[in-house]
Amino acid sequence: MDEDQQSICSDQFSISSDQLSICSGGIFSDIASVIDENPLKDDANNNNNESMPQNNISQIRNKDRRTAAFIKMRKEQRKEKIRLRKQRQNMRKQLGKNAPPVAPPKTIENRREKEDTMVQPDDVEVLLDEESDEMASYFERKTTPKILITTSDRPRSRTTKFLKELSEGFPNSTVFYRRALDLKKVIPQCIMKGFTDIIIVNEDRKTPNGLLLCHLPEGPTVHFKMSNVKLRKEIKNSTTPSEHQPEIILNNFGTRLGHTIGRMFTTLFPHNPEFIGRQVVTFHNQRDFIFFRHHRYIFRNEKRVGLQEIGPRFTLKLRSLQKGTFDSKFGEYEWIHKRHEMDTSRRRFHL
């Protein structure tokens, strides 16, 4: 597939002149015009009924009366809502087969704010950027993953058990105790010994709560918040992994930032999955939370799959992506989560 894409690139460039843009040079975001998706209003009357009382209520100075008026308004709104719903249901019954199809329910994912950085599959410039990023050596099959797993200093039993399970999940990984060593001194030694990634599990209050993933030669460092960590014995009907190399599933990493993170996860695993082992590792991104699951699957027949969960289960949330190896003070950040600026809308996601 890589070769095909490369040939497409070269064709485009040979046809185009010096000035032609590679797809388009950039995407403008309309900050001024906020695309306000009006929730479907069935009745025009509904509007009038609701708007009038609202104005009056906030101007009632007496608190008891104000609360009473508010409660009354809410009751009326609910009545209106139920009436409309009954109307719609009756319409459906009447029309029977001719009824218009049910509109899909509005979810936060459906109504996600348009993100400029969503990667289009035919975007040559993004392809060029990705081909030459720090993880490219893995995708060109020049390096195989070798992972070092460690924790913050003096880990508790839960974290050490978690580390053991993690290392069973990632092929070709080794666990080392931190023993108060500086990460900045550990990293050059790792590079010398040929490690490609280093995973540091941060522990707080006797449980793992953070994950730092650093891709080694000069790669980006990603810092995650880790939550909902479940060890193997806490998962019902769980089983132990085998030595086979797992398949990887990456779901919903749509934006440019998501692509980078997805690529980093891919570089943790060996290139060729051993399908005979029937093991699969899933990184599922939903609403900026990344869910890690490790399963063994079996196809019972054409339609049904049986899944048995292996190993640890945890949820990650991206905090920052830093260019270069770990250097939180002097490194350059490619993306930092700024809560007050980025979390202002419930329908905006960054991955």
Binding site: G25, I27, D129, E332
Partner: protein, 368 residues
């Protein structure tokens, strides 16, 4: 009808990226185009520095990672010429153009004045690890600085020794030597003073004419290395800085300890800030692949453009930012005309109305 020649026809910003593509952005037309040489794009051709040829902004030069300097004409948007920095090694710390010669500085300290025909006219050794350089074209002076490389001011006519070598600040309150890490330098216009920003989050002003070699003004901003600085064109007392954490702020040099204004909206390290030459806006490009336009007075982002590659450097033109200036002018003209009409009407009515109003107000007491 006022014909606005500036808006729409000229690009507002030229941005260089890590993938070797030069992007021109036109905010009026909402157009961003890539300019690149057919064979010469990709990570090895990362654009590290960019500068105008002359003040008229008709051509610009981009310095690439492998030491090639290319000339691009802004009108046509095509690369016309290419040069090679003589004895290139390391990264490019600075690129400038003086009359018809180049001034380049590489990270291993090779500060060189060379002509288009690749003749080195002057060269000096600026030390190791030079990170930044700036040119003062009126005085023909160049300033360089870097990591463990103090700010040095060079005169191009006498390139052997720097005419001013700064001294490191005094040890801090724990008696530790403060490390030297100059990440950005700018000459303050209409004077000889040098503004420098450091990786140890300091903003310093040096005055070569004073008898101290230590900085004359100093302040610190946040806790992360400062990476971008620019001086507001209309008011050289105001300075805008940006750091690796995505914080940008404006300082006034007359009261340097006080952060005059903060700007929001950045997600990644701010690589370069450039102020608009005439309007109160500034452009910033950052590692999170966005170009942002802020108004100097307000913290929120006015325009944001996603440019797909990590951005490294930036040049701002004098072009207008908004299309609406034409329509706004028409509207104000219309309003003026309407006002005139109303004024006339008032004058006409007032002479009549006085008598009418009197009669209306007072019940007619007809004396019989």
């Amino acid at each position: 009808m006022v014909e606005n020649s500036g808006c729409g026809s000229q690009n507002n910003v030229w941005v260089g990226s890590e993938t070797g593509l030069l992007k021109s952005v036109n905010l009026c037309k909402k157009l961003a185009t890539n300019h690149y040489d057919k064979e010469n794009y990709g990570k090895e051709h990362e654009i590290q520095r960019i500068c105008w040829e002359y003040e008229d902004q008709s051509a610009l030069y981009t310095a690439h990672k492998n030491g090639v300097v290319r000339k691009l004409e802004t009108a046509s948007g095509g690369y016309v010429d290419s040069f090679q920095i003589p004895e290139m090694a390391g990264k490019i710390a600075g690129l400038a153009r003086l009359d018809s010669n180049f001034i380049t500085c590489t990270s291993n300290g090779d500060l060189r004045l060379w002509s288009d025909e690749n003749e080195t006219l002057a060269s000096s050794k600026a030390g190791d690890n030079v990170l930044c350089m700036d040119l003062n074209s009126e005085l023909q002076q160049v300033v360089t600085g870097g990591k463990e490389n103090l700010v040095k001011l060079w005169d191009l006519n006498k390139p052997e020794q720097p005419i001013f070598k700064a001294k490191n600040v005094r040890p801090d309150w724990l008696e530790h030597r403060v490390p030297v890490w100059v990440t950005g330098l700018k000459f303050i216009p209409n004077s000889n003073k040098i503004l420098s920003i450091t990786g140890t989050h300091n903003i310093r002003v040096f005055d070569p004419n004073s008898n101290t070699r230590r900085p004359v003004l100093e302040t610190s901003y946040e806790e992360y290395p400062l990476t971008a600085v620019d001086i507001v064109a209309k008011n050289p007392n105001q300075v805008i800085v940006g750091n690796t954490h995505g914080d940008a702020a404006m300082f006034d040099l007359r009261k340097i300890k006080h952060v005059a204004r903060c700007y929001k909206g950045f997600a990644g390290s701010i690589r370069e800030i450039r102020c608009h030459p005439s309007l109160p806006y500034f452009f910033s490009c950052s590692l999170d692949r966005h170009l942002r336009v802020h108004h100097e007075q307000y913290p929120k982002v006015e325009h944001k453009v996603y440019l797909k590659s990590r951005l490294t450097c930036l040049l701002a033109t004098d072009a207008e930012l908004e299309v609406k200036t034409d329509e706004k002018e028409l509207e104000t003209e219309k309003r003026k005309k309407e006002k005139d009409v109303w004024d006339e009407l008032d004058d006409a009515d007032s002479s009549e109305s006085d008598s009418d109003s009197d009669s209306d107000l007072l019940p007619s007491k007809k004396k019989k």
